[in-house]
Symmetry: C2
Subunit: 173 residues, 2 copies
């Protein structure tokens, strides 16, 4: 992954950050999956990222200022990766991207429910989510502490679809 700086165009520069097949997947798993450790990202990735690519992209995202790394007090070898504000502010873009993909690409039902909810929730939901991420990753106080976090809400919806699909399959069989 080179860093050409081919032009000062905002879209081009953004593409030089995300214009590969893994960087945004890693950020997606951190943001929506709540993953913070190397192994979580490695094994939890649905798309099966290779460890050398993961290591390379984590390093690159740190150099770009999207992530920071800190020692995990509970384990001398563990590193905790945190999102920076630069990465947290991608939430609206991810929401739009998910919404677009849901319309135009062959998404699976259970994996697109999150995108659907996030689209319907709109800016208020994105703001709440970003606030929660700032709390988790930057240690900032929550604006308005809520009983159900956005991530938990999305996760619950996902699991409900998976359960209903399993039920439908078993009754149909």
């Amino acid at each position: 992954m080179s860093m050409d700086r081919r032009s000062g165009c905002p879209i081009n520069l953004s593409l030089e950050v995300f214009g590969d097949r893994w960087s945004l997947i890693i950020l997606r798993d951190m943001i929506f999956g709540g993953r913070r450790h190397f192994r979580e990202l490695l094994n939890g990735s649905m798309e099966g990222i290779a460890s050398n690519i993961l290591a390379d992209r984590l390093k690159r995202l740190m150099e770009l200022g999207m992530l920071t790394k800190a020692d995990d007090p509970s384990h001398k070898q563990k590193a905790i990766y945190s999102l920076t504000e630069m990465a947290i502010s991608l939430v609206p873009i991810l929401a739009h991207l998910g919404a677009w993909g849901r319309v135009w690409l062959p998404v699976s039902e259970e994996l697109s429910i999150r995108a659907e909810l996030l689209e319907k929730g709109g800016q208020p939901m994105w703001d709440k989510f970003m606030d929660e991420l700032r709390h988790e990753h930057l240690g900032m106080p929550l604006d308005t502490p809520a009983d159900a976090t956005v991530r938990a809400t999305l996760q619950a919806a996902y699991e409900a679809v998976v359960a209903s699909k399993a039920l439908g399959a078993s009754t149909a069989a």
Copy 2:
């Protein structure tokens, strides 16, 4: 460029469409630059795309349903590339991406003025722009014909910044 279909996640599938360094640049030049021909895209590209990469991406974007190709009546060898609705509906994503890049990346002043105006214009401006693109590329009637198109407005702002920078440089020297 392979088409893995690594997972049915909307973000992943979107990334399998845009997750490279050129596809979105080509769409940007077609959408904001109004380019329709191979040579226009080849020579007009600020980032200097190679002709084989351009040919490959145009083919791929057509396979994905983002572009169509038609003969140019004025020239037996010329092909006109048109955006499909799938591509036109990327305008809000490009607007967000530009806005994000403008905040977090070392954009140049003259190249980011468009992103700034597009961000300030918000959804109404995006809607108007998409309407104009549908007219240009799909032959649809304009909802509300306006004197100044969005593209012309953005282009004029760009040229004003270039001119003022040139003026500033000459008076400073």
